[in-house]
Symmetry: C2
Subunit: 316 residues, 2 copies
DNA sequence: GTCAGGTATAGATTATAATCTATGAGTTAT
DNA sequence: ATAACTCATAGATTATAATCTATACCTGAC
């Protein structure tokens, strides 16, 4: 039997013939002429190499080979129906995958969205990649993920960024630090202390350093640390002071204090970034829609800057 | 997704692309040109309505929809492979159905062949129909079975008969019948007794009556009975005498005796009959081949008249 | 015997599937 | 920078699938 000469149409016609037990009736049902159906069956039989139906005295009987082919067809069409169901879910964003790459700091805020989304869309896979800015940028270049999360979005070709959250930066010091007794602290008062910083390239550090530079200030001492947790712990134990995103601080004051610096308001924003030269997966689209709708609920209205409609308009 | 625009060929090509991860390599493997494969994939994607593979920087990745379609294809081709296996068995006579219709008397001999055949071909269905000559003839006319068993084959159009067994007829009388004491019994000595006969049309009766007629003899009394068992029992209990096939008699003498009639040698043959205007099912062909080969073994060499090669030459 | 209903066959047409060559454009490695 | 390889696209051809009309052939019913 040669599958190459068999089309799905042919099998459909055959199944109808088996069901109705009549060539003429099949022709009427499928809006074909009787010779067409006759010929289809004949061709199918040639392709199978075996009689499938026998005509005898106006009565059509289905052979063994025909019955078995009929069963096979039912199963095959069943499989394709399953696949169609799968496609429908995929297109509806109910199934599939939405790979998200985010810079380190985002891991403190994104789960607040991802958790609820994942609950409502249990069949969507949500693999997360967390890296520093350079790593996430490299992933973007290679197009490895569906959605990228940056503060300071890259202004690259094919990149479309949309702000969704305000990211205020705070100065933190050990609880017993001398500055905690001061009022009206200014930025230059902080420079003599040792600063604990993330690696160069980190958005927070970039923002902080550009602020220092524009005001002609220089840090007297700084130590580079690999993670925000490490910085928090180090500040708590008195190793130095630091600038951290409000979102990475515990709600309740811990072993450190937040300084209010009157002449400085450091802040950036969180952005979802997508590539405009690539298909956005249905799941990714569905996640962005979910985010656009529920940002305020899950991230706190006071921080939200919802500009995600800019992304939903993109049609790739 | 529209199955009508999808061919098995298309799916084969798609599967190869997924397996090799390369369009060019698929083209080489399938002896096609690269643009052909590109276009096939493009068309398949259009038919499915969803991207199946993504090209990025010389690297081909398969989408969710692609992976799922691939799985679906594997299952579908698996089903067709199963069907091909089924067909192979069918064509080899290992599977299928061989309907046999036989006249009553044949039920004493055919099981000796059917049993061994069925043991060796356990997947072949062997539905049997047993009737009197008229009934089996009617089934033949309507083509309801694959093989018909007659003594006295019908000389109809489209009927091809082949002898396979000698069918000697014997006269039986009650054990204490007066004739058992005689020697050199002649046929005319039997006519005064009451004969127990099958219905007119029975081959045995036809043969016997034509013998009587050709010799100008007439039975003085006869009773019609519905089965050979009934006749045997009736003879045993002294109701009359009868003509029966040697094959329906028990090997060991029972309540009756076989008469030796010196001037009469009644005999017919058993024939397998098939229609020449119909496909002979593979199973039927296989049964006839089996019979041709093993007649002597299962039916006793002394009775066999193996002319079955006449049937195997028929190619329908 | 004729008619109606079912099927088969022949011949023709149209649509489209399957394939090619030629070419352009991007990527990788030397 | 260039060669070698990848894939995509355009344009053209060929094969064949899908379909029709017209016609002939059965069979069963009236």
């Amino acid at each position: 039997m040669d599958l190459r000469h068999i089309s799905f149409r042919l099998l459909e016609v055959f199944m109808s013939v088996v069901k109705t037990g009549s060539i003429s009736e099949t022709a009427r049902n499928l809006h074909l002429t009787q010779p067409t159906v006759s010929l289809q069956i004949k061709r199918l039989q040639e392709a199978v190499g075996e009689p499938l139906v026998l005509m005898h005295q106006q009565k059509l009987t289905v052979t063994e080979a025909g019955v078995e082919l009929f069963k096979t067809c039912q199963q095959v069409f069943g499989k394709f129906d399953d696949y169609k169901d799968f496609l429908a879910e995929l297109k509806g964003g109910e199934r599939g995958r939405c790979k998200i790459a985010m810079v380190n700091t985002a891991q403190y805020i994104l789960p607040k969205l991802l958790g609820p989304y994942s609950n409502r869309h249990p069949h969507v896979e949500l693999p997360l990649e967390i890296g520093n800015r350079a790593e996430v940028l490299a992933r973007f270049e290679r197009g490895e993920d569906d959605i990228y999360v940056f503060s300071h979005p890259p202004s690259l070709e094919h990149a479309k960024a949309a702000r969704f959250l305000h990211n205020p930066l705070e100065f933190i010091v050990p609880r017993d630090h001398p500055l905690t007794k001061e009022q009206n602290i200014k930025l230059e008062q902080l420079t003599p202390y040792r600063f604990l910083l993330r690696e160069p390239g980190s958005a927070t550090r970039m923002l902080f350093e550009s602020e220092l530079q524009s005001r002609g200030l220089v840090l007297s001492d700084s130590v580079q640390m690999r993670s925000n947790e490490a910085i928090r712990v180090a500040v708590s134990s008195g190793m130095g002071i630091a600038v951290l995103s409000r979102h990475v601080l515990p709600n309740e004051g811990g072993e450190f204090k937040v300084l209010s610096v009157v002449d400085t308001n450091l802040a950036s924003h969180w952005y979802f970034v997508i590539r405009t030269d690539r298909h956005l997966s249905h799941a990714a689209r569905s996640f962005l829609q979910f985010a656009e709708k529920h940002l305020e609920l899950y991230l706190g209205a006071q921080w939200v800057r919802n500009e995600l409609s800019q992304l939903s308009s993109i049609e790739i």
